[in-house]
């Protein structure tokens, strides 16, 4: 008998997350005691239509795109829950990427790498962001209510949080980890100022702050999210960052050489 699981799995693996709408007809619905809930399973009777040409599908696509681009989907994690001191494993950038591909779970590590993108001297709106506390959509600071049509709190007064929220790139001799998240409260620790203090800095001061880290080898603690969820591959969140001590860098490099 034909293995429909494998077909379905192979199909899904080629799809781009957050950009693909599926119409799934005749999935088998049953109670799964292990997951303690109802689950839908693909079998030989199931028909999967990829990106069907219907209005609902088009709306869903637009909504998913909006949510994804606003970064709202990235906001669910609480990486601060893990004490930074407990993180000890050291990785190169390529080792981080490789582990993310082989491992379905998020993991934590240290990398002695350069900050290769840290645009804190671009416009402040690209560095500090305000989000609806309920749905995590981006909102303007003076908004009265959430602009997300599907937000559960849309009819109520806006509850929002403002914080640092920018993408950074981390680079070493093995490659670059693009668009890692640098957010509050981690950013305050690294930059040494609150969002209010940052906003009151002038351009020169922000540029000077940037060059403390930009293209400097830093000791960066990261949380890496598995690549299977993301088209881009691997996504990191910065948990801590400081200019690296040269002695520590040497130890790390020696360890790398011994592994060869």
């Amino acid at each position: 008998s034909h293995s429909w699981d494998r077909e379905a799995i192979q199909l899904v693996q080629t799809m781009i997350p957050k950009e693909t709408v599926l119409f799934i007809a005749d999935a088998k619905i049953s109670f799964d005691s292990f997951r303690d809930g109802m689950t839908a399973t693909v079998n030989s009777k199931t028909i999967i239509t990829v990106n069907p040409d219907t209005r609902e599908a088009s709306l869903l696509f637009s909504y998913a795109k909006e949510v994804s681009e606003s970064g709202a989907l990235d906001q669910d994690e609480k990486p601060e829950d893990v004490p930074v001191d407990s993180i000890t494993d050291v990785y190169t950038v390529s080792q981080l990427k490789q582990k993310a591909q082989e491992n379905p779970e998020a993991f934590f590590g240290i990398t002695y790498s350069f900050m290769s993108r840290l645009d804190i001297d671009s416009s402040v709106s690209k560095v500090i962001k305000t989000r609806c506390s309920r749905c995590k959509f981006l909102v303007t600071e003076d908004a009265q209510s959430c602009t997300n049509m599907l937000c559960s709190g849309r009819d109520q007064a806006l509850l929002a949080t403002t914080g640092f929220d920018l993408p950074v790139d981390i680079t070493d001799h093995t490659g670059t980890l693009h668009a890692c998240s640098l957010r509050s409260p981690v950013a305050e620790n690294i930059l040494g100022c609150t969002t209010n203090e940052f906003t009151s800095l002038n351009d020169n001061e922000r540029t000077a702050m940037k060059w403390k880290f930009l293209l400097e080898r830093c000791k960066i603690y990261v949380k890496i999210t598995p690549s299977t969820k993301l088209r881009s591959g691997t996504r990191g969140v910065v948990l801590a960052c400081s200019v690296a001590d040269p002695g520590e860098v040497k130890q790390h490099m020696s360890a790398l050489l011994q592994r060869l």
Partner: protein
């Protein structure tokens, strides 16, 4: 576009249309693998282009008959210029896994000596990298005709010209005979290091840089080997 009962099943880009699945229990229009026949798909964009090999770059072309075509690429209904796919069909075994690029193509930063920088720079068109060097200031700092600061850096017997544009920051005060750190893009054709970051180096940095240089050299040797195999 409703399916006509007496319309012959029309092959779509070499894909034979066959009834899908066991639908005896269902009271509905039989679905077939040629989506244009199916009433569910009413959009005329589902008519495929002649070339069935126009898949996404990672996807290999499907095999020959009797395998029924897996995908029929057409314009995406929601966005311009991208591909979409129709009902999945039964297929023979095909290698549908996207190919992973063999060589990491993202930016690297290599700690290097001047000699090594010249050597590794010959592969820069294949893989992008910047260099970090620790070297001694071996000249005065001069201003060139474009307004950039020019100076020479030396390590051992090797010397390289460095150029720094004061776009974002002023060049810090450099002391002749002292070790400095430069990070930049090495221009092979002019034998010049276009620096984006220049500062005095710490003694501890210089002491420990050698290990980083070794590790980077090892990585580059492996990379060059990979490049020669491709």
């Amino acid at each position: 576009m409703r399916r006509q009962e007496n319309q012959p099943i029309r092959p779509t880009a070499g894909c034979l249309s066959v009834p899908l699945f066991n639908q005896k229990k269902r009271n509905r229009v039989p679905l077939t693998s040629a989506p244009s026949e199916n009433e569910f798909f009413s959009h005329s964009e589902y008519i495929t282009s002649a070339s069935s090999a126009q898949y996404g770059s990672n996807r290999p072309a499907p095999g020959p008959a009797p395998a029924i075509r897996t995908y029929t690429p057409t314009a995406h209904p929601y966005k311009v210029g991208s591909r979409r796919y129709c009902i999945i069909c039964v297929s023979a075994k095909q290698d549908r896994f996207p190919m992973k690029p063999a060589i990491e193509n993202s930016l690297r930063i290599l700690t290097s000596v001047i000699d090594g920088m010249r050597h590794w720079s010959q592969f820069k068109d294949k893989v992008p990298y910047l260099f970090e060097i620790f070297a001694t200031l071996d000249s005065a700092v001069t201003l060139d005709r474009l307004g950039a600061k020019n100076f020479l850096m030396r390590d051992g017997k090797e010397v390289v010209t460095c150029v720094f544009y004061e776009n974002e920051q002023e060049l810090p005060r450099l002391i002749r005979g002292q070790v400095h750190r430069c990070v930049g893009n090495y221009d092979r054709s002019r034998d010049v290091l276009m620096c984006v970051s220049v500062r005095p180096g710490l003694p501890s940095e210089l002491r420990n840089a050698q290990e980083a240089v070794k590790a980077c050299d090892a990585e580059m040797r492996a990379l060059v080997k990979l490049l020669s195999e491709v």
